[in-house]
Subunit: 112 residues, 2 copies
């Protein structure tokens, strides 16, 4: 295995994604900010590339909460973790929820 | 004032409704169940009329969380409290969020 191999971290399947868990994961201003940055042109970003008002270990925690809820996918890539939004999986599991929350987050939190 | 006067309980204005607070309020299976029952033909219900798997004081707590987040409106009416969904206010404050969550809740929790 080379340093550039993409190793996915554990995540729920589409069938395992639960509304209550996703709502809990999204009910946080930092995690909504991560969501906006992933949605608005920053797909496939390394954690370190995010502009967030919290430290590294807190950031790692927020990404894990989002991944374990099924909102994002994370891969190890070399020494960093790359995150992508599970837009299509969420559209199947919870149609309309991500779109509604993203639109409201943009309106209330401003551009990512 | 007669016993039938409708006295509204304190609630946020439309401008005061915050996405994070609403997501927190909705991130609970009992409160999602209340939401479904209000949305699906049970508008303007007294708390006592709800079919919920929890006791009276817990129910009262869940209704307060929903009201303080701006999701429902509550009136005192005689000795009971009557609750209504703030559908139009939420459509202004957080367009799309309530619709998405209701659709997903129906799919995952079954009919109210």
């Amino acid at each position: 295995m080379t340093a550039s191999a993409r190793t996915p971290l554990p995540e729920p399947t589409i069938e395992e994604i639960r509304l209550v868990t996703v709502l809990n994961a999204l009910a946080d201003p930092v995690r909504l900010r991560i969501l906006l940055q992933l949605a608005d042109g920053h797909q496939d970003m390394a954690c370190i590339a995010f502009d967030l008002p919290v430290g590294k270990s807190t950031t790692t925690h927020h990404f894990r909460v989002l991944r374990e809820a099924g909102v994002i996918r994370q891969h190890r890539q070399g020494t960093s973790r790359v995150s992508t939004l599970r837009t299509e999986d969420l559209a199947i599991a919870l149609p309309g929820v991500l779109e509604g929350v993203l639109a409201a987050a943009r309106a209330q939190l401003g551009p990512a």
